[in-house]
Symmetry: C2
Subunit: 304 residues, 2 copies
């Protein structure tokens, strides 16, 4: 099924419709951070901890730079290989293969599959964390941002607007110098966030993924966040936001497909393209002209 | 100007219209490959070589995993820093900031700026190489794929369909064991490609970027490819394909913008979203319903 999703197979779309009513019950955790901070080792340790607590776990390792850098992900998967014989753990990497809607939608599609299969915790690992093409916060209930001491990642996170999307901040490799300074810095930045009293206050957790130090506390921090969301009725809000974001991306893909098909088969498109290639018109003005002349109406009537 | 592009500033769009007629004269080289193969060091050496040949050079380092992994790119730029005082060299990194149309369009926008500024060679560096969200072959005249011995990147390239997009294959760090085996493997794969007699036969070049070995040959290989394209009238085809691809991405962005604005302000959209969030309808069927009921027509008449 994941392969069908990666391959843009229309069968995947039909099957997802059938699976969707069975999804929506997992706790979805996003883990993100720069290359080299130890995300895979950390997730490997988290799997062990969640298994101790008797949760079933699925991991989706997302590589926005693929297909070419597939090597890195292969390495990552090897690192988690000791869980390969555990039937209650499923690890899958997803690469970009030009999916419609990109990796973000393909990842959401995969989440639906894993949820319908009954996995209780789904971890999405990605290097991408931006407001850009891959928005982890629209896919996960709880987002963990992994940093290491002394890299200034904290400051960068603020600049990139990522601080707002982090629920748990992880200072990994915390046996390195400056670990406490990193924690302090993150704590200060969290204090400066604009937030209402009903909001979750992000936590900072120190870990050494390599030997498991702090991983129990990290797993508990994620579970506390999930409990907090449920107790404060934030989970419905989050669910609505996630569904809206998925619907929007589907709308976007399908509408675009229809639109491009119409446009590209039209005489107008061919005529305009000729003018561009003859140097008579620049592509920016041409695109504006075409789109300004588009008329879009809807026949849809929604009954309540 | 690049900052305006990164920030999605509408002023950038208007300025690009004015710059476009002055673009189209540079030789655009794409350099891609997995993390760690030495792309930045190689480009640093290529700049030196192209400067010896008295070309002006602009480099656009594209990071599809940003904003968070900005660190890597900063490091890359530092590696090329020795060219910072050379006024005929311009190095700029571009990160994903949720640009409309994504990084691919933003990179093309930046290329137009550098072309209008008169740079003769523009090098685009990226880790992404796929048919996916970032398609280097639609941005560059000549694409160099960097590999290192013994990683099996060659095989992966074939699987990922990247072999088709490579014009020059570079075996970097060729002082490592298995370098000749890698060359042989790549040569064999190139021989197996389906190609007509008028096609360019990709070359394989061994380099040691660290000490400059093979970089002169690499620069010459790129320039030979450019000459070959010009002599065989392939350059017009390439230019047409690049312009079409840019126009399509602009059309896509603008049409999508218009469509989403119309849809999201409609009662139908709100009604359908409510049904999804109430669990009455799945998002996939809902998106299909909305899009099937869209009517798109064009008022545009193109005079020849």
């Amino acid at each position: 099924m994941i392969r069908l999703i990666e391959d843009n197979d229309p069968i995947a779309f039909e099957k997802l419709k059938l699976l969707y009513p069975h999804a929506g019950n997992a706790f979805i955790i996003g883990i993100t951070g720069s290359p080299g901070v130890g995300k895979s080792t950390l997730i490997d340790a988290l799997i062990t901890q969640f298994r101790k607590l008797d949760f079933t776990v699925a991991v989706i390792a997302v590589d926005p730079t693929s297909p070419f850098s597939g090597g890195a992900i292969l390495g990552d998967r090897l690192r988690m290989q000791r869980h390969a014989t555990d039937k209650k753990v499923f690890i899958r990497s997803m690469a970009s293969r030009g999916q419609k809607g990109g990796l973000s939608r393909a990842t959401k599609d995969a989440v639906i599959v894993f949820e319908a299969m009954g996995y209780e915790i789904i971890i999405i690992e990605t290097v991408g964390a931006g407001q850009g093409e891959f928005d982890i916060a629209s896919l996960a209930h709880s987002t963990g941002i992994v940093t290491i001491p002394g890299t200034g990642d904290g400051i960068q996170a603020v600049k990139a607007g990522i601080l707002e999307t982090g629920d748990i901040f992880i200072v990994n490799k915390s046996d390195k110098p400056d670990a406490d300074a990193s924690v302090l810095q993150l704590d200060m930045m969290i204090d400066m966030r604009n937030s209402s009293q009903t909001d979750w206050t992000p936590r900072v957790v120190k870990t050494i993924a390599q030997n498991g130090t702090g991983v129990k506390e990290l797993a508990n921090a994620f579970l506390s966040h999930f409990d907090f969301m449920k107790e404060n009725h934030l989970i419905e809000q989050k669910k609505n936001a996630m569904e809206k974001s998925y619907f929007d991306s589907l709308l976007q893909d399908l509408a675009l497909e229809k639109l491009l098909l119409l446009m590209k088969n039209s005489e107008e498109y061919k005529g305009i393209l000729q003018k561009i290639q003859a140097g008579v018109m620049d592509p920016l003005s041409a695109a504006e002209l075409v789109v300004n002349n588009l008329m879009v109406t809807s026949n849809l009537k929604v009954r309540n």
